[in-house]
Amino acid sequence: MKKNQKLLCFFKNEKWRKTIRTMKMMAVLFLLFNITVIAGQSAGDEIYFNLKMKDATLVDILMEIENISGLGFLFKSEEFEVDQRMSVNLRHVKLTEALDEILDKCYSYQILDNSNIVITKIKETSDDPVSQPVRTITGRVTDEKGDPLIGVSVVIKGTTIGTVTDLDGNFTISGISDDAVLQFSYIGMQAEEIIVGEKETIRLIMIQEAIGLSEVIAIGYGARKKETLTGAISYIKSEDILTTTHSSLAQSLQGKIAGLQIRQYTGEPGDFNAMINIRGFGSPLYVIDGVVRDGGSEFQKLNPEDIESISVLKDASAAIYGLNAANGVIIVTTKKGSMGKVRFNYNTSLGFITPTNIPRMADAAEYMEMRNDALVTIGESPYLPESELEKYKQGAPGYEGTDWYDETMKKYSNQIQHNFSAQGGNEFVHYFLSFGYLGENGLLKSGDLDYQKYTFRSNITTQLTRNLTAEVNFSGRNDRKRAPGQIYENILKGTRVSLPTEPVYANDNPEYLSVVAPTNLNPVAYADREYTGYNDDRNKFLQTTLVLTYKAPFLEGLEIKGLGSFDSNNYGGKDVLKSYKLYTYDEINDIYIANEQRKPSRISNAINDNNRLTLQAHLVYNKTIANDHNVGVTLVYEQRQGWSRYSYLEREYEFYTNDQINQASVNNQITDGNETDWANLSYLGRLTYNFKGKYLVEYAARYNGSYRYAPGKKYGYFPVISGGWRMSEESFIKNNLTFISNIKIRGSYGIVGEDVGVPFQWAQGFSTAGGGGYEFINGIYTQGAASPTIVNPSLTWSESNIKNIGIDIGLLRGKLAMEFDVYQRDRSGLLAVRDVVLPNTFGGTLPEENLNSDRVRGIEFILAHNNKIGELNYSLAANFNYARTMNVHVERAPFQSSYDRWRNGLSDRWSDVVWAYDLMGQFQNLEEVIMSPGQNGTLGNLKELPGDYKYRDVNGDGLIDNNDMLPLFWGGEPKLHFGLSFSATWKNFDLFALLQGSGKYSMRFWGGGSYGEMFCFGGNLPAYFYDRWHPVDPYDPNSEWVSGEWPATRTKYDVGAMYYESAAWRNDASYIRLKTIDLGYTLTNDVVNKVGIDNLRLFVNVHNLFTICDPWVKIFDPEKIEGVGGVIGLAYPVTASYNFGLNVKF
């Protein structure tokens, strides 16, 4: 009985439009709004039953029918005359007969999907004989892409007559007069009104709300409607993710979510190392389907087609996740099944990938000219005679040189994707099944670099009993990256460094790869597994989740849920690093002399078995008291555990045979291994209260324990309080300022923690590894145990204090929307070693302690607009985020002087600032060189030449030295991020474009790498250096100088202050790029229906089509980091891709 009152509660405050959509979003709504959809045992019409009740209300009677039939009723409680009582006595009636009897003429009903029955009151006016003739019309409602919208509420304006659209988006409504106006409403879509007039049928395309106020957003252990959110939480839906085609999910999100900072460091296939960062905080916590599944690469490898939505908790609302949520939380919800016949979806694309840019290296003639300069300008004899140089310039036979990049790398590679899914459900079971394949080839000509990924997902929800639902989610991934036996950085380095005057093959005989100056970095050999062997990485990954949800029949609004999840990742890495031969040709004897590289050959296997177990118990209670007070309580117990085992085997070959570990020699073998075991335990709770949906308050807290700290120091308490005021619900706005559809002011404040430090630092312990050994018995070496390091028993997590204030505004019925947030995070307890100098008789060093602190401050806004002009639907959205980090306390020794403090102090200053010399230009002539302040200490300006850089003598002491440096640049981390998207549909066309950019950072390729230093590694140099200062006569150092963009070319040993940090080498790297443009055409139903297809969409999309930024930065790509893993500018190039694809629904 009580269950039905719950139904009433729900509908009391809701409009009709909510009803059937529930099925589509069942999984989410189940948990949050306690909508009861009662699945019956069989179709209602086939049941015969008896019904005998006395003096019962209509509601009581309907409830009894629900109990008997298993069907669910949806109705508006205010339409029911609750006090009216009646008696019924029906024997062996069908459902329809019973309903006809009970509802009489006062109510109409409609059976949906054989399981839900919608009851509406028949308006009395319809009985009015004076009114105009009434008729019935039909129609269809779709979204912008032509997909049917199921469950759209259709109501005749000013009446309570209404219906909802069925599984094909069709509706039929009767009781229409000619002057009737139909109101259409649907979650996440702009409400529409259509004047019926003389129309017989109505076709409506609904467009998305700019910011869907009524969308339900996952917020961590629950979900919430956007309009009642009090935290700073962003949200993106499946279709907005899929507009970009890329192997990494990160790339499909970049620029689309305010405050989600993403940067792709490389474009290497299978390299899921993009920086993902919420608001400049650091690497976030990832939650997939309600379970913490941490690790950026796990997230980036998700199949975007499986994702229903992603929420991003950006402020202290992350505190519900306690430890490890200090950097915010990304919550992924995957697709679930929904009621209805099976819908198949097949999606494929084929793409071509090409580097966004790669600097060209000097060709043989340019190189020789510059090499010659390098000696002549410093007064030494030329590198080669003029006649020889001339031959290089002419490209005479034998003097053409080698373009190493062209020899090694392709212009284009390709990627291919197939995704297939099936979605549907009946009363018992809802399912979403998907299978995905992605293959991406690398740019190596050898074809030995590629990545392949297979994914599947099976999300199944079943109704076990009337109150008990089970959800079984099972997904897996098998992926593999293949690479040659040299890391890519070395291959690219080979194309940068190897001299263009060297041949690929000795004596041009393709059997014999050549020994190559300066350091045998023959990239053609490196890139080829035949020569260098291979690196092969495989991952087998399984995620399983079982959720049982029980709706307590004894207390309405109470729900109990248990969740168990087990994930397992099996990594296998295999490296075969072969020794190989390069050759020189001995012309006189006509023999090839072998030069063996990298001897001996080695083989290794690395195996890692990683496991994760999560158990949760939830207690959820929601209730509305006295109509206006909405109260919610969530209590959760959670425990998470993980364990892993790693093994490593390596052997050396005496001679290479087969790539099996047991085929290699047992000599010099290496084995290694370790295991980890961790656990977290939490109790968390959330209390929400709102008054009339107008004044919102929420308090949440997590009591979180971590295994890694000392007993007594394991548990932390992480609370958050937030509140909001929906000003637009106040009558002075609602009634007077109708153009305002939404204004909400919200704020939050909370404390979040972050696990820091190596686990078990509190435990004083001896380690059986790491000590020196001793031979106690002749011939037997005893490995020694290392004595304990000094421990810090009070080591604990760092604590973040996050504040956020925001305002949401919606105008003109949602056509224009904006959100604005200001935030600050104060983090304390960062690790540092205490700055005390211990006497060196102490015999130990101090451990890390929670000493340092920092602060991030930022602003963020979103602007969105959508509109419809005729058949053109369009929307524009902009997001912007600017955040800076300040070091508040940095543990260090006392300053020696005020200069020391100014120059070297870090505390209370913005981080990521680069000190540099103030560049005044280039020396125009030798006279100027001589007259300028000395730039090289005791050498004065002896090494400077015209064209070299001249720096400002800031302190005026006649010397250019460290004391003249100024904080002139932001460093390498962008502080400003923005995205600007445009989407439109017109007839059957749809278009999406996304401009994305970052700013407030700089980039330099340091000396020590090929791009920032001439003749680096004694090798070739980039062609841009050819535009240089040089003597008119390359054989006469005293001839007149010709000016150029760059200083005179010479080796690093012959330069003065040329490579000092300054604007000559460091450039503002701000950029804006067309991240995505996606154009689709959907074939109309009539054409494709004949072959059984509901919907066929063809599309073209381009990723990273063009970039606007500083021209010098552009040739490296502004997103690429200057030194991934210590290599300087040698990471795999960032790529652009051109994709063609089709999407079929049937």
Binding site: Y550, F760, G771, I777, N778, N840, T841
Partner: protein, 632 residues
């Protein structure tokens, strides 16, 4: 009914989940053990002790004096402690500045790290669940390690902070600052720790791990330490220093203390001599050839001489290997790696040995008829050189230990005749020395270095440090296997304390303190000489004892500290260049014969030892607040 069931099930599920509760956080690190878990088992104790013994400052094959590193397995370019003394010159490096810098011979932070480790051990011993005997032995081992550690410090730095308990740092830095004790207090502490070790260590190890220190090793340490301390007291005034460290007694000991230390040395040595456990290895050889081999084999494999070995440090692969064979081999027997021949025994050293026909005297190598051994001016055609048919003839009659320690020119090593020749004298009486040349005389081609290709000889050519420039190549400690091991693959064990040293410590202490055990000491001295093939006894004199130390303990890294404690260094190295012996082929006669030229080593700058170097520089006194050693 149904709903009751469901409620029950739900509760069960909840119970199951929460039952796993709190103790899941109660994890222990998988790579750490507590002291009880580790140290209460014999294997665990041995494992922990392995790391402590590993850290002992034993100046063995892997000791790198430059930078003061122990167990050094990087590339030291074949530079070892003997280059700092008069024992040898380096084939390539100019070692003029060897050991003069602040970091050389340094062992400070590492020393206090070891002391911290052993103090930690001492702090947990009382609480371990082990039997009394095990507890006592462990105390003995800890005391031995601590004595050895402080000995390593005091011989370098003089008095040092004596940290006898595990220090715990909370907030107060001042509380962990310990001032230097006086040098005397420091030596006394080392001796008292030796006594603790002596009283607690067993006479033998029966548990298999038998290379741990015994009671006798502790006595041996005490013998060495006491002799060192006595010498400091006695010879301090030979090179007095001044300054705050001296004023406070942090360096230097009053001469009046000397005899007490000598007495301690005598008693400790006697304990070993009277134990009946030790003797010299093969003490009565039949002839000098046998004596030379007996002496050599003991260092190649100490396992052959268990009666002489009191304490040794083992080397093994896998584990710890050294590089003596790699660096010090004559060029001709190297394994092809371009690095042999670094250690060149000096003529100064070779001169020290007695001849059997002149007992009790060093007999310098006489090269000319006039017998002048003090002319180092190079070849002089006006002098009359002694001529020999074989280059080693000139050494005949010299102490067998020379033949066991040094590869002499023309002798056979590993089946090869080692050619060491510095040049020739042409028939026109001009000498070509240390230049690569050849000449045809009477139809035969002669090469300055004794061969046409560098693989055929082992001396004098300047070729990446491969060749000796002293006329001698190194032999002691090298293994006789044909192909020498690669870098850090040699596994000969290092004898740290042997009976021979104890006899000499005893003899020196008796002589220096004029002790009444004169006869016993003379016997000790002569028993060592007998082992070396001598048959005529010599009297117990200081000169005879010191000569025996030079030749008997050659290259055992004792010489550096003998020069130090006796304050000889600054006299021995005073603008001094080491001397070498250059064999020349004299083509003025037919058939050609060998002559020898005594000369200063080539490519060597003169060396001077400053008195301040008797005490090394103490690092970072700013933070520790310690008084620095004089003149640093």
């Amino acid at each position: 009914m149904k709903s009751i069931k469901i409620i029950i099930y739900s509760i069960l599920v909840l119970l199951f989940i929460t039952a796993c509760s709190d103790d899941i956080l109660d994890k222990r690190p998988m790579d750490k053990l507590d002291s009880e878990a580790l140290l209460s088992s014999p294997e665990g104790r041995v494992s922990f002790l392995a790391n402590l013994y590993y850290q002992l400052p034993i100046e063995d094959f892997l000791f790198r004096p430059q930078g003061g590193e122990f167990n050094f397995r990087g590339n030291n370019n074949g530079k070892y402690l003997p280059y700092s003394t008069d024992e040898a010159v380096h084939s390539e490096a100019n070692v003029a500045g060897f050991l003069h810098g602040q970091n050389e011979l340094k062992w400070w932070e590492e020393g206090y790290k070891l002391i911290r480790d052993v103090n930690l051990l001492i702090s947990v011993i009382p609480d371990l669940t082990i039997n009394e005997e095990e507890r006592n032995t462990l105390m003995g081992e800890a005391a031995f390690i601590r004595a050895y550690s402080y000995y390593g410090l005091v011989k370098r730095y003089g008095g040092v902070p004596l940290i006898k308990e595990l220090q715990i740092f909370e907030d107060d830095i001042e509380s962990i600052k310990v001032p230097r004790s006086t040098e005397k207090e420091t030596w006394d502490f080392v001796l008292s720790e030796c006594d603790v070790a002596i009283n607690n260590l067993p006479e033998d190890w029966y548990d298999g791990y038998n290379r741990r220190p015994t009671k006798w090793a502790a006595y041996a340490l005490k013998s060495r330490v006491a002799l060192h301390a006595a010498s400091i007291a006695k010879f301090w005034n030979e090179a007095p220093l001044s300054g705050p460290a001296v004023d406070q007694g942090l360096v230097g000991i009053q001469a009046s203390e000397a005899n007490g230390y000598y007495q301690a040395c005598i008693l400790a040595s006697q304990a070993i001599m009277n134990s009946g456990k030790f003797s010299l290895h093969k003490p009565t050889p039949a002839n000098p050839q046998e004596a030379a081999e007996n002496y050599r084999e003991m260092f190649e494999d100490p396992a052959l001489a268990p009666e002489e070995v009191i304490f040794l440090k083992g080397f093994s692969i896998p584990g710890l290997g050294h590089a003596y064979d790699f660096w010090l081999q004559p060029n001709q027997t190297s394994n092809g790696a371009p690095h042999p021949g670094r250690m060149n025994p000096s003529l100064d050293f070779v001169d020290c040995y007695e001849s059997y026909n002149n007992p009790g005297q060093s007999s310098p190598i006489v090269t000319t008829v006039d017998g002048d051994v003090n002319n180092y001016n190079g070849f002089d055609k006006t002098r009359t050189y002694l001529r020999f048919n074989n280059p080693y003839e000139i050494f005949e009659g010299k102490d067998a230990r020379l033949w066991g320690t040094v590869v002499l020119p023309g002798t056979v090593w590993k089946g090869k005749t080692i050619v060491i020749q510095g040049g020739y004298v042409k028939p026109d009486e001009t000498a070509r020395i240390e230049v690569d040349e050849s000449i045809v005389v009477n139809g035969t081609t002669y090469y300055t270095f004794g061969g046409s290709d560098y693989t055929e000889y082992s001396g004098f050519k300047v070729l990446g440090g491969r060749m000796t420039k002293s006329g001698f190549s190194f032999k002691k400690f090298l293994s006789t296997i044909d192909v020498p091991p690669e870098l850090n693959q040699s596994t000969n064990d290092w004898i740290e304390f042997r009976y021979g040293e104890i006899l000499l410590n005893f003899a020196e202490a008796v002589v220096e303190s004029n002790h009444n055990a004169q006869t016993e000491a003379a016997q000790a001295l002569n028993s060592i000489r007998h082992r070396a093939g001598h048959t005529v006894d010599i009297p117990l004199t200081l000169e005879n004892v010191l000569r025996e130390r030079v030749v008997e303990l050659a290259f055992e890294n004792k010489r550096n500290w003998d020069l130090n404690r006796r304050r000889i260094y600054h006299k021995d190295l005073h603008n001094t260049v080491r001397k070498v012996l250059i064999p020349l082929l004299d083509l003025r006669v037919d058939p050609p014969q060998y002559i020898f030229v005594r000369r200063n080593a080539a490519r060597e700058r003169a060396r001077t030892y400053l008195p301040k170097e008797y005490y090394r520089y103490i690092p970072d006194v700013g933070a520790s607040g310690l008084v620095q050693n004089p003149e640093w």
